[in-house]
Amino acid sequence: MHDTATPAFAVVHAARVRGIVPDDARGELASDSEFEQLERDGLVKRTARGLIATPVGLREHDSTLEAWRGDLGPVGVVAATYERFLVLNAPLKAVCSAWQRSARDEEALFSVAGQLDDYLSRVRPLISRAARDAPWFATYASRLSAAAAAVAAGDGRFVTDPQVDSFHNIWFECHEDYFVTLGRSREDEEAA
């Protein structure tokens, strides 16, 4: 599967980034019959909690991504957007931490909603550019925007609570996706 525009790629990629594809998130990625085919091909495995990638699936996914990176040349657009992502990453986490330390009252909620909205408008151009070469990034923009809207509507869980599709959780996945897509590791970056 040396093509990133296949259901196999989309599903295994999601499983790789998120660890597991919960049943309710499957619909966005592939049809039921496509899932069944991927299972027969031994690329993914159904578990009680959702779908995970098999070692075979992960190996194939790695080689697809490697070929994809080779086609893009040494410095792709995605890598350039990642640099800007990192500029936003530390202050965004600081915004999340400040919210968690706050009284989480009306003022704090209003303030964090405004800040998330700022980060959303700054990260959107990055994501849409990354998505030109790596279309699987596009979903982060819509998910972040839904989370920001939920916070603005008064639901503080959508700032950092991982039990809902919160702004920080999506951001965290987007960060992980950059590692996976660019073939870098978190350990390398943290050690640098």
Partner: protein, 630 residues
């Protein structure tokens, strides 16, 4: 910069619109805004504050009415700029000793939604070279300039964030050094501003300051600020002030640095200064948490005189505000500068313990102590904790206390293990070398989290706090054996399934089940709860009540309606639920979680009255926490 003699600022107090901090002006928030008044108070306490002046709220309102700064305000700003040059021994636009300032908004009341701070105002193509020479760090100086140009484009010129980001993304940066990248970013921002309206960042620092001041005033009427004022019924006629303050630099080598200090430990409430400090760094580095900071003890070891002065300053601040305060400071070549202070955010436990100690110290009375601690904080303070620090021999890992709380559980090193064991009813502690989104399910299942890498603002720490799970981060390299049955950290091996105790406040992981005690046993907490009970109109029930998420419960005061999940409901939904639960009966109290009680107290009172009940709205923790026990 050398500190000027205290009180030497040569400003006449005949000023109408613009007031030098330290000129004898009264700390009146209606005139100077909260931030400006705060700086005046700090100077009054004898603390070293970088020279600053405040353009008043009145000047701002005039600007909004007239569309331009009045002649008097402009003249007074110029006079104060000259005075800043004199006191700082620097000059605007001088490439040898450039004077740089920050420009911030500061309204009489806290106002989210107004303009962000613009830092390093005064940077130009010439003065940036001065900053290069003074810091010896071209990469830093040019990065400051690039960030300044970017803020200017967004905040002062009002360009949309996506336009700014797109322009930066359009740059061809491959193979460039950090300095070259920043140079390219500055040029891109200038071009963008010219394309948009023909005006780049002015070459004249004074003009930059005027424009930034006007931008602050305009932000009083930003959509968000207006929305906030409507929400909180804040008078639109208050206006905002602007604070212009000399920049100091903490990144001038080993005798400089930046930090944030608290007058008391904000997680435990212990009465000793607590804080983070980074040598050779600017304030943002501490706030963003990009680097794990050192502690105040490291500052004491490296720069003892500065540490002593800081501790003395913290004491004065706390005495003045009669509360736990948070102080942002910078050390610029052995000189301490206090930049900002505010009442410090603190954990529930710290809030309660500090309030009790302040009563004991005679600083506040019981009524004020009760008013200072929110019901949510009481609830948090009541969480169990370890009876004592574990014996040294039992401690197997030390790291950063990244999410408060105490938990005992079986160590596991794998997400699936965590989910499986937790599903069988065990308390588990998930230990991971580093964290990725695939670990989040394990976080949710676990009672506590330990990570090898990462600081207090790492993704792992944010996720752990997002679910209120105790966490210790940055314990060192964790290597998990190939079969997943053991993990080794710093030469110590932990077996899968062995019992460990995680202290998310102090950052320790210990072997075995260290004894936990309920917090009520602590004398301060017990005293506080007694004060609260004596003060409450609703009798506190002693007997645990049925453990259901919400419903109508019998108490000694009669039936009460409990909305356990009200935080996540809209007001209408909560009201509907109250009506439904009540079903025509009479309720003496509606009980909701603390955050929601504050948010919608009026609505709830109205509802209670409508139901023919008394108008008690009581938050859960004060009414006998047995209700919450699950």
């Amino acid at each position: 910069m050398t500190r000027p003699d205290t009180g030497a600022a040569p400003i006449e107090t005949a000023a109408r619109y613009v007031f030098a901090v330290g000129s004898g002006v009264a700390p009146e928030p209606r005139v100077l805004g909260g931030k400006g008044a705060g700086l005046v108070r700090l100077v009054g306490l004898g603390l070293p504050v970088p020279p600053a002046f405040v353009v008043s709220c009145e000047a701002g309102l005039d600007y909004l009415a007239q569309g331009e700064l009045s002649a008097v305000a402009s003249r007074e700003i110029h006079e104060n700029l000259v005075a800043l040059e004199v006191t700082s021994g620097r000059e605007f636009g001088n490439p040898e000793r450039p004077l740089l300032v920050s420009v911030r908004s500061g309204a009489p009341v806290s106002m989210p939604g107004m303009m962000d701070t613009v830092l390093n105002v005064g940077l130009t193509a010439t003065t940036v070279e001065g900053l290069v020479r003074e810091t010896g760090d071209p990469r830093f100086a040019w990065n400051c300039y690039a960030r300044f140009a970017e803020s200017y484009a967004r905040i002062v010129r009002g360009l949309a964030a996506h336009e700014v980001e797109s322009a930066l993304l359009d740059l061809e940066l491959s193979g460039l050094t950090g300095e070259e990248r920043s140079r390219a970013a500055v040029a891109a921002m200038q071009e963008l501003m010219i394309a948009d309206g023909g005006r780049p960042v002015p070459d004249d620092p004074r003009q930059q300051i005027l424009e930034a001041t006007e931008a602050v005033f305009r932000s009083w009427n930003s959509e968000r600020a207006q929305a906030y004022r409507r929400l909180r019924r804040i008078d639109g006629g208050l206006g905002t002030a602007t604070v212009v303050q000399v920049m100091v630099f903490g990144n001038r080598g080993a005798t400089s640095g930046s930090g944030v200090a608290f007058t008391r430990d904000p997680s435990t409430g212990e009465a000793r200064p607590y804080g983070d400090f980074l040598f050779d760094a600017q304030g943002e580095d501490v706030v963003d948490g990009t680097v794990d900071p050192a502690s105040l003890e490291d500052l004491a070891a490296g720069l003892p005189e500065v540490h002593a002065e800081l501790v003395a300053s913290l004491a004065r601040v706390e005495e003045h505000y009669r509360d736990v305060c948070e102080v942002e400071f910078t050390v610029d070549e052995r000189e301490l500068w206090v930049l900002q202070t505010r009442v410090g955010q603190r954990s529930g436990r710290a809030a309660l313990k500090a309030a009790v100690s302040f009563v004991d110290e005679g600083l506040i009375d019981v009524a004020e102590a009760l008013g200072r601690v929110t019901p949510a904080q009481v609830e948090a303070a009541a969480a169990p904790r370890f009876a004592a620090a574990p014996p040294d021999d039992d401690v197997i890992m030390r790291g950063l206390g990244a999410s408060p709380g105490a938990a005992v559980g079986r160590a596991v090193f794998d997400v699936e293990d965590a989910v499986t064991l937790a599903g069988e009813g065990h308390s588990v502690v998930l230990v991971r070398p580093t964290t990725s989104p695939s670990d989040v399910r394990g976080f949710i299942a676990a009672s506590a989290i330990v990570t090898g890498r990462g600081g207090r603002t790492s993704h792992a720490a944010v996720v752990a706090r997002g679910m209120a799970r105790p966490a210790v981060c940055g314990v060192g390299a964790v290597s998990v054996s190939a079969d997943g049955t053991t993990a080794t950290i710093d030469g110590i091996t932990v077996e899968r399934g062995s019992i460990v105790s995680v202290d998310g406040v102090h950052g320790t992981v210990a072997r075995g089940a260290q004894p936990l005690v309920p917090s009520e046993d602590e004398s301060e907490i017990a005293r506080f709860l007694a004060w609260a009970a004596a003060d409450s109109d609703v009798p506190v029930t002693a007997a645990p009540l049925p453990a259901e998420p919400d419903g109508v419960f019998a108490t000694t005061a009669g039936p009460v309606v409990v909305l356990d999940d009200a935080d996540h409901m809209s007001e209408q939904a909560a009201n509907a639920r109250i009506q439904e639960l009540n079903a025509g009966g009479e309720v003496p109290a509606v009980i909701v979680s603390a955050a929601w009680a504050r948010r919608a107290e009026d609505v709830l009172r109205g509802t209670c009255r409508g139901l023919g009940s008394s108008d008690q709205v009581v938050s859960l923790p004060l009414l006998g926490r047995g209700l919450r026990a699950r």
